[in-house]
Subunit: 395 residues, 3 copies
């Protein structure tokens, strides 16, 4: 079996996290689990969240394959029994004995993680990146989430000329002095990926914003028209600054538009002549619609696929996602990512899982006559770090 | 290789069947095959159904992997050659020699099938469940198909107050004295899964029904509005009675809305605050869109996935469906089911196939470090029976 | 492992190609690669196509698994190093030494390819089929692409009576004296697969054409209505002539309607009573939505699935596509195809890949108890040639 454990990793999409020294078992499970129905979610449905409901929520989180894998790898790391209580106790003790920074850095180093490309739009309030950098001890390069800026400008209730100026300046500042290496959009959570490419007209932004400001809730499609315009404008700015644009595609907790998150919906926009110079990273490679993302990365020249979220949150899906994305996507267009957050443990176990899944996928390709073992190792290196370094110009 | 053949089975979704002692080869093939283009289907297209057309239809049914597997397992059961003629002759002889009940019970016992959760809305006219129970000799728990009640009420042409009262009472009766353990909807066959959650307003039901009754065929969206309302009302009644709601998702013979049967279309409804207390079973786990169902079962707290139809009718798909549903769905949220009907043979061979597919999927998870062999066996037990018993409170 | 290398092949969907004796490495890569973002594509987006852009485009084409496989098999064929330069030099030399015809025929023979069913609507201008036949030395049976005729009639700007007469006559001529063995449509590239079955009314054609001719660009849905009508009319003519209808489904370079190319969208049309006598070949079996095509081939009696495009252009997808289509599609309803073009090399390597993928898929079916080794070989023979011969009545 191939072994890529010595290869270094650039995590092309993840989130910063806050120091948390001492967690209860339930708190830790919540912190590292994929975002789903929480106690608050049930309460908003008028459901009493008693001990039974709490136990049910904990149970389903612990019953996912993602969690099982993560727990077993952490138990091996600490050399303790593979139970939540044993692992959490070992984690809290390690932090107490050695300090949080030593613990976090140790896990990132154990996974050979050299660089984190972080979307600091989650969690809110934003994590202080200087403090996070000091904690994790690896290179941290942020991307700028346009929806955070849009929300701020909507809250300020400016008229269009000021809104437009502040939006452009906010992005320009982020991509120059701000140290951000690219943009990120979660429009799939807001108004969906079926963006009309003609929305780049500033007139559309102006009319939509005026409707939103005046219509007292009867603004119809105005918010979609505004977001579509600002998305298209962000593409233009990415081209100006030669910065990549991360776009969330595919599933994403319970709030995403599940009927408007498919990469296929982006196709008309991505091939629009005015946007062809922009480099797009299809975040989560659209899982479970990842074949669509792979296809687009073949048919259009400036599309990258990020493997995060499916890896590690879809548990056993890793080798399948990699194999299926590579059906069409060029080997130079696929990047490892994790979408992890909350605590250092899943960053480490996601890197383990990614390397294991990559080894399985590549072994099959060798067996089936697609490449030699040396080429498979070279491809793994590209996917684990080189492709992302090239995309973010971060070598 | 893991072996789950000793584990008992709850079939979370299937249909009752009628006694048929002596079948010709063609009749048996029709009885146990997945519903597709029949002679009647061709005739409705103005096609002469001569001997050549009959032979063609038989051939394609016999050329499916589902049928090949079922035939081979039954040949092994009877210790005869794996041909249709030999198996049908052995079947008819066994019934003649031992009686229908002994034969049917023998097959259910051979598959370790302890409980059948049956949707008695198919076939029509309805099978007498007392007689069916006596024949199969295992626990039979029915679910109540709301579309049968809706059709009856439409046929009676009552005004809204009476329609509304009769609908509520019909469901309440079914879930209390009627002995039904849950509801079932096939709205994916009628008006599609894109149900507006706000349809629960009784006003919508009243206006829609009045349009249907008065519009002489020009009722526009009225039938969809009515069905959407009655679906939402059924959810409320399920909450009141603490009964699960089975919803058909994914493919289903030639009549389903193939463009409106995806689990993703249900997401907005399933997360609607008013419905969060209802337990939903996504029947057929939306095959081949089963990754969507698995995802929803992770992101929302009260969603179960039923493996039926894909297992056994999609032949070799079993291990793939299980592995892909488990990418996101918690192990405690997936239930074995078969969707079988017509004759006892496919109930038995579906259980064999399900256990085989589960063993393959679980072995891969062990190999990939997700769980121990003991945990895999525990998970198999949950999927084969415990999860369904818990959902239906049928322990 | 099973070995099907001795089995002969009918390629159920491919394209004719032109003689090209001496190609540079870059020219050859372009000629045999899947259609994607070309220099012209970038230029149309206002992007300067300098040496760096050219190198980038070449690199991503060479970094696909399809290309890697093809290159390695050709290197083995020529017994040279697996580099583009070595393989292209060997190819050019073989043509120079032996002549183009001998080279091309040698590759088709090496792949045991006996018959090519070609869509001569690509490339344009059309390849002379008599010359192509002489070059490749195998049976060549063309299908008639209706969009070529439609474009010609639109260019002639005839009124409806003449348009209608010429359309019917053009198809009738093609299917009788013209030697075409079926029709082909790429409506998925034009107005999408969501075709209203009621479009067969000639009135719809007339009204739509008049709108197109008079509306000076403001014709709204007229072009869709016209294409839908002509598609339905083509079905009727296929029934009259007992000829199969090839319909592009699934992905297809950067121009296809990625949101309107799914086989599921065809379901309502395919089951419409007036069209039930027509034999449809779902070209590319809708990859990556191939499970939908397999399902339709099970639920309706006259649907065939063609494996082309996914095989070979989706690289490692072959065994997966075959296994997943066969989950529902009868073994007698699946046909090998390649969708290859441009030069003889990919025709040969696609046949190798197809046989390898088929052997893998069939071996798994044997292992899992679905069939015997003899039955697997028989099924492979059906998929590689018999099913297509039966469909095209070309035995």
């Amino acid at each position: 079996m191939l072994d890529f454990s010595d290869l270094s990793v650039v995590d092309a999409h993840c989130h910063p996290y806050r120091r948390a020294d001492n967690l209860s078992a339930d708190e830790w499970v919540n912190a590292v689990s994929f975002g789903g129905g929480s106690p608050e979610y049930l309460q908003a449905g008028g459901i009493e969240v008693d001990a039974a409901a709490q136990a049910m929520l904990q149970r389903v989180k612990r019953d996912t394959l993602y969690f099982r894998y993560m727990l077993r790898r952490m138990a091996e790391f600490f050399q303790v029994e593979a139970t939540v209580d044993a692992v959490v106790a070992a984690r809290n003790r390690a932090i107490k004995d050695n300090g949080y920074g030593v613990y976090a850095q140790g896990l990132h180093q154990a996974g050979k993680i050299e660089t984190l490309i972080v979307d600091d739009g989650h969690p809110l309030p934003q994590v202080d990146l200087r403090r996070f950098r000091a904690q994790v001890g690896v290179e941290v390069l942020p991307v700028f989430r346009i929806e955070a800026l849009i929300q701020q400008l909507l809250d300020e209730d400016s008229a269009w000329p000021e809104f437009q100026r502040a939006y452009d300046e906010g992005i320009a500042m982020a991509l120059s002095d701000g140290g951000y290496v690219g943009l990120k959009s979660i429009i799939a959570y807001r108004t969906g990926l079926d963006i009309d490419p003609r929305s780049r007209s500033a007139d559309q932004g102006m009319v939509a914003l005026e409707k939103i400001r005046r219509a007292r809730g009867r603004s119809g499609d105005a918010i979609k028209n505004l977001r579509d315009h600002l998305f298209c404008r962000a593409i233009e700015l990415c081209i100006d600054f030669d910065a990549p644009f991360q776009v969330h595609t595919g599933m994403g907790d319970w709030e995403v538009h599940l009927d408007a998150c498919r990469p296929a919906l982006l196709m008309e926009l991505l091939r629009y002549p005015a946007y062809r110079a922009c480099k797009f990273l299809l975040v989560h490679t659209g899982y479970p619609y990842h074949a669509e993302a792979g296809y687009i990365a073949n048919a259009l020249p400036n599309i990258w696929c990020d493997l995060s979220e499916g890896l590690p949150f879809a548990g056993n899906a890793g080798a399948r996602i990699i194999a299926e994305v590579l059906e069409m996507a060029p080997l130079s267009r696929v990047c490892y990512g994790s979408d992890t957050y909350g605590s250092p443990e899943p960053f480490y176990t996601s890197a383990l899982l990614g390397k294991q899944a990559l080894a399985q996928a590549m072994q099959q390709l060798i067996n089936d006559g697609f490449m030699s073992e040396a080429q498979a190792r070279e491809a793994a290196k590209m996917i684990l770090s080189d492709n992302a370094r090239e995309l973010y110009d971060a070598s």
